[in-house]
């Protein structure tokens, strides 16, 4: 990916309830999970924008697909 997803580890640790350790491999895997989610989200948003005959993905498109994606991404 063009950019590292920095501070992921810190975010996860911040959101976790107890003290959790996150080794580097796990962090990589978590990054993979995030990327996968973003990929699917972007794709859905793109489809939505295309439905509305817009070449640009806008916030409204993203909002429209947000709920669906989050539901899908339940563990």
């Amino acid at each position: 990916m063009p950019a590292k997803l920095t501070k992921l580890k810190r975010i996860i640790r911040g959101k976790a309830m107890g003290d959790v350790k996150i080794p580097a491999a796990s962090e990589a895997m978590i990054e993979l999970a995030v990327l996968l989610f973003l990929n699917s989200l972007a794709e859905e948003a793109r489809v939505k924008a295309f439905e509305e005959k817009s070449a640009t993905i806008r916030a409204q498109h993203v909002n429209a697909v947000t709920k669906k994606m989050l539901k899908r991404a339940r563990g």
Partner: protein
Amino acid sequence: MDPPDDLSARVLLRHIQDMEPPRTPINSGEDQAPSDSPLPSGSPLQHGRLLRSSKTQRESQFQSPQNIVRRSLRQKIHQSITRKSLLATKRRTPSIVLRKHSVSTLSPRQLLKLIQETGPVMSPLVHESAPPAELQPPSADPNPPSLQSSIELSGLDLSDPSMEDVSIQKGLSRKRPRRSLNVTAFQKLLKDAAKKRESSAGDNSSLSPSSSTSLGLQSPFDADAEKSGIQRKVPHRRRTSGRSFNAAMNKQQITDVSSHRLSAQNIAEDANFEGLTLALSKLSETDIMNCHTTLYDPQGAVDSSLSVLAAQDKPTASTCQEETQEERGEMAGEKSVEVFSGEDGAATDECVPGSHEKGKDDVNKTEAEDSQPNDDRADGFLTFEIGVRDESEEEEAAVEPQAEEGEAAVEPQAEDEGMDPSQTEEEAVADSQSEEEGVAAGARTEDEGESESRAENVVVLESQCDVEEPQAAEDASGLQTNDEAPQEEEWEEEELERDTRHVGHRAYRSEGGLVMPVTEAREDPTDAAGSSEIGSKGLGALGSNTSLEASPSQMGTPEEPEPSLQERLENEAVGRKSSSFHLVQVSHDAEACERQSDGGDAPAEDAAEQQEEWADDDDDEEDTHYEELPDKTPAFVKQKRIFLASNPPPLTLHVENVQASSSSEALPKAKQKQVRRKKTEAVLPKTCLMSVFKHFAKTKVSADVFPALNNVMDKFLDRLSLDLETYAAHAKRKTITVDDVKLLLRRQGYINDKMPVEVLIEKYLRMEQRRILIPIATSGNVVVPKIKKCSPPLFFFFLNRQSDNFFSGLHAKKFFLPFYLVLYCI
């Protein structure tokens, strides 16, 4: 023979055809023969011979059209020559010619000549309007054509059908020669025209002949129509009488003035909120009633000087108060009303912290303008100041010796009544009546205050000169509570500690509305020199009274803030002439200031709020406090004190947030800011998130998706972390392993039998991450990363599992085959 070239053959032919009965070559000879030939008509034979001969001649040479034309022309020329010889003496007008000779007898050439001689060139455009107009007048009106306005009649229908035909023809056709004449109509026209020509000899010769002789080109009165057409009259111009015009102008002026005043009033009303609005509106009304405007002020002579003063220092409030005392019985009410109105007006006029000069101009403008509310306020302010000036000197002289005498005695009173005068002051602002009282009360209090604490004020002013601005803000906000002496002390200390925070204009604005007038009143009474004198006095007092400042306890806690406020105000007046006016304006019209200025200062708002509160309080306490003896401390000082005491903490936020936003109050503002900060923090770095999203989107992504994206990611990561933690906890671990995440991915549906995780890893992750996750066999049979040694059965299992999937099996073989071999070798 005349060559036919000079006359177009077509034209002539047409004329001939139209006018003359159809002739055959045979007939033509018969017509012409009797006139031309000298032969005795009696001899039919000869006639017949002639005819025959002529006929034969003609028949022999069969006529070409040209020849026919030529013959006709010749004949006509002969005729015309004979006629001309007869009529040589008489002036040949077309009418005469036509009269004598019917149209039919006239040769086309003759007609054409007449036309050319007499008819002016007419444009096709004129025809349309002219002909109907001109046609009717001859038929309808016997008036001479020159007097008729053809344009006005252009729309009228022609009663005469014959005229209509001609007019229609004339109106429609553009090509003159091609018109077909209605001979009878034309003859009628000619006759009429001839009659009129005879009757009016002085008519335009150019017009009449042309009109009369015009054929298809013109009607008899085309000339008139043409002339009128050229003249370019307004078709239906309303002629307004002088009266109506004047009336309209008056109406307009009235509406303008009223609208202007209304707007001014609206501004004034808007600027003066809630409690203030009432007062100011009332003020304006009363002022109007009493004719206390700039123009009608009995003390008109003073206005000029006031204008000078008004623009100057702020702390005239004290002087105002002083003088209001003396004015009680007299003009006090009026003046105070005017003063406050003037102050308000001044404030309303400008909230922008303009320059001192600007303030001056504004004041002058307010004076000059007829917008009553503003004028009233400005005037009131000015008059108040003047009155203050006149009396302040006296008061000062009287007060100074008393300064140290009645301080102690007055202090308790001042404490008790600290709020009252301040409230009364506000009352004065709020209500016209209460204003007078408040002013009087304030004046009283001011006297006492002056007597007690001139020195103190001076001292404090000097010390807090710089702090005044923030203090002003503080004062504005803090003038709401009563009896906060200890707080006041603390506040004073704070003020002393704080150095010029550049609240600048805002500080000025923040000052209570009454404070400013009071302060300004103090200085306004004197001229520029006078104010400077006061300032110098203040400074001198400061210098002399530094010792006093050092011992704040002497004067008692309540006194300190009051004198300090007073002195501060005075110093303000002295030191900041330029901003004094702004202060007044700002203080009064905090709301207006906010509206006008983009920032909308919190202190100004606070000041406005204070004023509102004062007004509210004042309304309640009008009667009770009116008769109370005024404190030493002026009302504004007490109010300031109260304000400061009540809101010391928000002041910091005020100062901080002054530039930030324009919220209503200090405390909520601060809270909001903190809350806002939390929300706006992003979960992931914006650039990272957006770049990744854009990469995956593969289409244009607008920048406004970031907030939505942020929210989504926030929620996703929340769930992610929760799930991972749960999985690890289920495995009784505190470490989130790769397996946990793999399980998560499987549950999410990204990984299944068909899609191994390694594929995804290879697809999405960077090399370093991939290297961590997927072991790679390197040279020397070194696998990176190290695979943790597990029991062989498990190892097999692991291998087998991976080999189930063909793809993964291949993958496994790649990596694990050497291990397998190695292990089994061992």
